[in-house]
C-alpha cells in the first residue's frame, strides 16, 4: 500500500457525505430540505457557491423533483447526486422505481428517520428499508468514516452496475455526530473513480434519435428488462466486494464487502444488525465474550442486493439474534430476510430503537443473553 497524504479532520456524518460527494466531482446536485438530511445539501451548495465544486446545484420544490432532476442529468450522461430522509424519500417513490428501471447511475444519501404520524425527526430504518424492492442498491454505514468511504464507493458501484445506489446513515446518530475521520486525497479518489461514461445506459444527445421507455411491442421485452435488472443486482454483489477491495488498496480502508464480520470465529451465537447501532452491539458482543458467551456479529452493509451467501455462512450457528430498527405488521424486515436464508427456528428477531428511542450496549447485551438462553417466548420480540 502506498502512503497517502491523508487529511485528518472532524466532521459530522452529513458533512462527510458532502465531502465525499465533492471528492467524486458530480456535475449535477438537486435536493429539497428535510431534517436530518439538510446539512448535506447546505454544505454542497456552499461548495458550489464558493467555486470549490464545479457543479450545478438545483433547488427544487419537492423531493420528487429532486430525484427527477438528477435522473434527467444522469440519463444525459452526468454524475448526479441527491439526498433525503423519511417523508422526502417516500415523496420520491414513483421516481425511485423509474430511475432504477432506467438503469440511471444515481447516488443518493438517506439520513434515516422515522415516519409520521406523529411528526418525529429521530432515527429509525423503516424509511430506507421501504425502498428495498425498488431496484436500488441499498447500503448502511456504521460510522462517519464509513459514511465518507461508502459514498465514494457508491458512485463507482452505480456507474459499474448501472443501478442507482442509496447510502444510508442513521439520522442524528451519524448525520449530526462529529467524529475524527480521514479524508482521502483527491488524486486517490480520481484514480479510483474516473469520469463516468456518458453513453451508458444510453446516449442522449441532440440530433441522435433514441427513445427510452415507450410502450413495448411485446410484454416479453419488458419482462426481460426486469429480469436483467435482477441479474445486474446479483452481479452487483461481486462488484460491491471488488470495489471495496480496490478502494482498500488505494485508500487503506476496506469493510468486508456486503457484510462485516466481527468475532464470528468459534461463535455459537450470532448477532445480525445494520447501521450505527452495530457499534453498541459490538460492545455488547465483546462484553458477552468476556463472560464466556461464544457470540459474534454480522453487520449487514448492503441490504440490497441481499447478502444471501454471507448470511448462509451462519448456518452452523445455533441461534441468530437479528436486531431490527424497523417495524412492520409482519415483524422486522431484516429478521424475516435472515430467516428466509437460515430458517425461522434459528432466528430470534428483536425490534428495538424504534422512533429514535435509544438502545444502549447493555440493552443489546441483555437482549442477546435472553435470546440465546431461550427466554423469549415469541420469535418477534418488541423492546
Amino acid at each position: 500500500m502506498r502512503t497517502l497524504a491523508v487529511l485528518k479532520t472532524a466532521l459530522t456524518g452529513n458533512y462527510a457525505v458532502a465531502h465525499a460527494v465533492k471528492l467524486a466531482k458530480p456535475h449535477v446536485i438537486a435536493a429539497y430540505p428535510i431534517t436530518p438530511q439538510t446539512t448535506i445539501v447546505e454544505k454542497l451548495s456552499e461548495f458550489v457557491a464558493k467555486g470549490e465544486l464545479k457543479a450545478s446545484f438545483v433547488n427544487v420544490e419537492s423531493e420528487f423533483s429532486a430525484l427527477a432532476v438528477v435522473y434527467g442529468a444522469a440519463m444525459a450522461g452526468a454524475r448526479a447526486f441527491t439526498a433525503t430522509s423519511s417523508h422526502g424519500l417516500f415523496y420520491m417513490y414513483e421516481m425511485l422505481w423509474w430511475a432504477a428501471g432506467s438503469r440511471a447511475p444515481i447516488v443518493m444519501a438517506v439520513a434515516t428517520r422515522t415516519l409520521g404520524p406523529p411528526w418525529n425527526i429521530h432515527d429509525e430504518h423503516n424509511d430506507i428499508l421501504a425502498i428495498r424492492d425498488s431496484g436500488w442498491a441499498v447500503a448502511m454505514a456504521s460510522n462517519v468514516q464509513e459514511v465518507l468511504d461508502l459514498t465514494i464507493q457508491a458512485f463507482k458501484l452505480a456507474e459499474s452496475a448501472y443501478i442507482p445506489v442509496a447510502v444510508g446513515l442513521d439520522g442524528f446518530v451519524l448525520s449530526h455526530t462529529v467524529e475524527t475521520i480521514e479524508l482521502p486525497p483527491q488524486e486517490a479518489v480520481d484514480e479510483f473513480l474516473p469520469p463516468r461514461r456518458p453513453d451508458l445506459p444510453l446516449r442522449l444527445r441532440p440530433g441522435e434519435p433514441i427513445t427510452m421507455g415507450n410502450i413495448p411491442s411485446d410484454d416479453r421485452l419488458h419482462a426481460e428488462h426486469l429480469k436483467n435488472i435482477y441479474r445486474a443486482s446479483q452481479e452487483a454483489k461481486k462488484l460491491v466486494k471488488s470495489i471495496d477491495a480496490e478502494y482498500g488498496k488505494l485508500v487503506g480502508r476496506e469493510y468486508g464487502g456486503m457484510v462485516e464480520g466481527f468475532e464470528l470465529e468459534g461463535a455459537r451465537y450470532a448477532v445480525v444488525c445494520m447501521g450505527a447501532w452495530c457499534g453498541d452491539a459490538k460492545e455488547a458482543v465483546r462484553s458477552l465474550r468476556r463472560e464466556g458467551v461464544p457470540v459474534g456479529l454480522m453487520r449487514i452493509r448492503f441490504v440490497r442486493p441481499f447478502p444471501d451467501e454471507e448470511v448462509a455462512e451462519l448456518s452452523g450457528i445455533d441461534k441468530v439474534v437479528v436486531f431490527d430498527r424497523d417495524i412492520t405488521p409482519a415483524g422486522g424486515i431484516l429478521g424475516r430476510e435472515v430467516a428466509s436464508v437460515l430458517g425461522r427456528d434459528k432466528v430470534v428477531n428483536v425490534l428495538a430503537g424504534l422512533a429514535g428511542v435509544d438502545f444502549k450496549a447493555d440493552e443489546f447485551r441483555k437482549a442477546v443473553k435472553h435470546a440465546v438462553e431461550g427466554e423469549y417466548a415469541d420469535r418477534v420480540v418488541l423492546l
Binding site: 449535477v28 419537492s62 434527467g72 442529468a73 441532440p206 427513445t211
Partner: protein
C-alpha cells in the same frame, strides 16, 4: 419574421410507424417541433398521448431523442438534462412535450418551480383539453360546458389560463400557438430556443375522439377556435405582450366569426342551451378585455 410554409425544412421527424389516432392534432404540432428543432431538441415526455403515439418499442415513429418520464416529472427531468448539458458542454435544447394534464394538473408544481428557477427549458403544453389518453376525463384545461366522461353534463368550472400564470412567474418568453397556424408555431419555437431560460408555449391541439368531431376536421376546428375568438394567439417576449395574427385582427369583436361556428363542429358541446352559449360568449369577451388590458399594462413605458 414571416415563415413561408413551402420554405419550412423538409426533414421528417414524425415518421411512419407512429400510433397516433387519425386526425391527431398533437402530431401536427410534433411535426412542426421537428422542423424547428429536430437537430437540437432532447425531449422529456411525461405520461400522455405523446407517450403512446411514439409507436411500439424497441422501435419508434418519432425520430428525436426522447426520454419518457413519470407523469409529474417532465419539467424537472428536463431541468436535469439541461444542467447536464451545460456541465458537459453539450449544445442542445431540453424540451418538454407534455399534455394539459401533465402540465396544468399533476405536473404543475414542477412546471412552476422550473419557471421560477428560470431553468433553460422549452416547455410546450399541447392542450387537447382533457385526459384523452385515459379516455376523455376532465382536466383543469377542459373548458366550461364541455362534455367529458367525468363531466357527463358539461364541466362547471372555467379553464385554467396556464400561459398567463406562467407569465406571472417572470419568465423571459410565453406564447400561445395553435396547430392550424404552423408557421406561427414554428416561428415561436425558433424564437424561444434563442433565449436561455424558461420558455413556455401553450399549443391548442384538437382531439377528434375527445371533442367528438370527424378526424378530417382537426385543422378546421383548430382554426375556428382562433377565428371565433375562443383561443387567442399572443406572445410575451422581452417584457412585451402582443397579439399575433390572425388574433391581432380580431380585437374588434365584429370581426370574429360567431362562437356557434366553433361549437357546432364538436359533439362535446352538443348539449349546450342557448343561454349557456350566451354565457360562454360573455366569458370570451371578458377574457379578451383582460388580455388587452394586460398587454397594455405590460407595454414598455406604460
Amino acid at each position: 419574421m414571416t415563415v413561408r410554409i413551402d420554405l419550412l425544412p423538409k426533414t421528417k421527424y414524425v415518421v411512419p410507424g407512429n400510433s397516433a389516432c387519425a386526425g391527431c392534432g398533437m402530431m401536427i404540432g410534433l411535426k412542426v417541433l421537428g422542423m424547428a428543432l429536430g437537430e437540437e431538441a432532447v425531449l422529456s415526455i411525461p405520461a400522455s398521448c405523446a407517450s403512446v403515439v411514439q409507436g411500439l418499442g424497441p422501435k419508434s415513429g418519432v425520430a428525436l431523442p426522447i426520454l419518457n418520464v413519470p407523469f409529474a416529472s417532465a419539467a424537472s427531468v428536463a431541468t436535469g438534462i439541461s444542467e447536464a448539458f451545460r456541465q458537459l458542454g453539450v449544445k442542445g435544447q431540453a424540451v418538454v412535450w407534455a399534455g394539459d394534464g401533465g402540465t396544468a394538473d399533476i405536473g404543475f408544481a414542477a412546471v412552476s418551480a422550473a419557471a421560477e428557477r428560470n431553468s433553460d427549458v422549452l416547455y410546450i403544453m399541447y392542450d387537447n383539453e382533457a385526459y384523452m389518453n385515459t379516455g376523455i376525463q376532465r382536466s383543469s384545461e377542459t373548458p366550461k360546458g364541455a362534455w367529458t366522461t367525468t363531466t357527463p353534463t358539461g364541466k362547471r368550472e372555467a379553464k385554467k389560463d396556464v400561459a398567463l400564470i406562467l407569465l406571472a412567474h417572470g419568465v423571459p418568453y410565453v406564447a400561445t400557438a395553435n396547430i392550424a397556424y404552423p408557421q406561427d408555431f414554428y416561428r415561436k419555437i425558433k424564437r424561444a430556443s434563442e433565449i436561455r431560460g424558461f420558455k413556455f408555449i401553450h399549443l391548442l391541439s384538437p382531439c377528434p375522439p375527445g371533442w367528438l368531431f370527424d378526424p378530417s376536421l382537426t385543422v378546421e376546428v383548430a382554426r375556428k377556435a382562433v377565428e371565433t375568438g375562443v383561443f387567442i394567439l399572443w406572445e410575451y417576449d422581452n417584457g412585451e405582450l402582443k397579439l399575433n395574427p390572425p388574433s391581432s385582427a380580431l380585437v374588434d369583436k365584429s370581426k370574429r366569426k360567431p362562437l356557434v361556428e366553433y361549437l357546432k363542429l364538436q359533439g362535446r358541446y352538443a348539449h349546450l342551451s342557448e343561454d349557456q352559449i350566451k354565457q360562454m360568449e360573455e366569458e370570451i369577451d371578458r377574457k379578451w378585455r383582460f388580455l388587452l388590458r394586460f398587454a397594455q399594462a405590460a407595454r414598455p413605458g406604460a
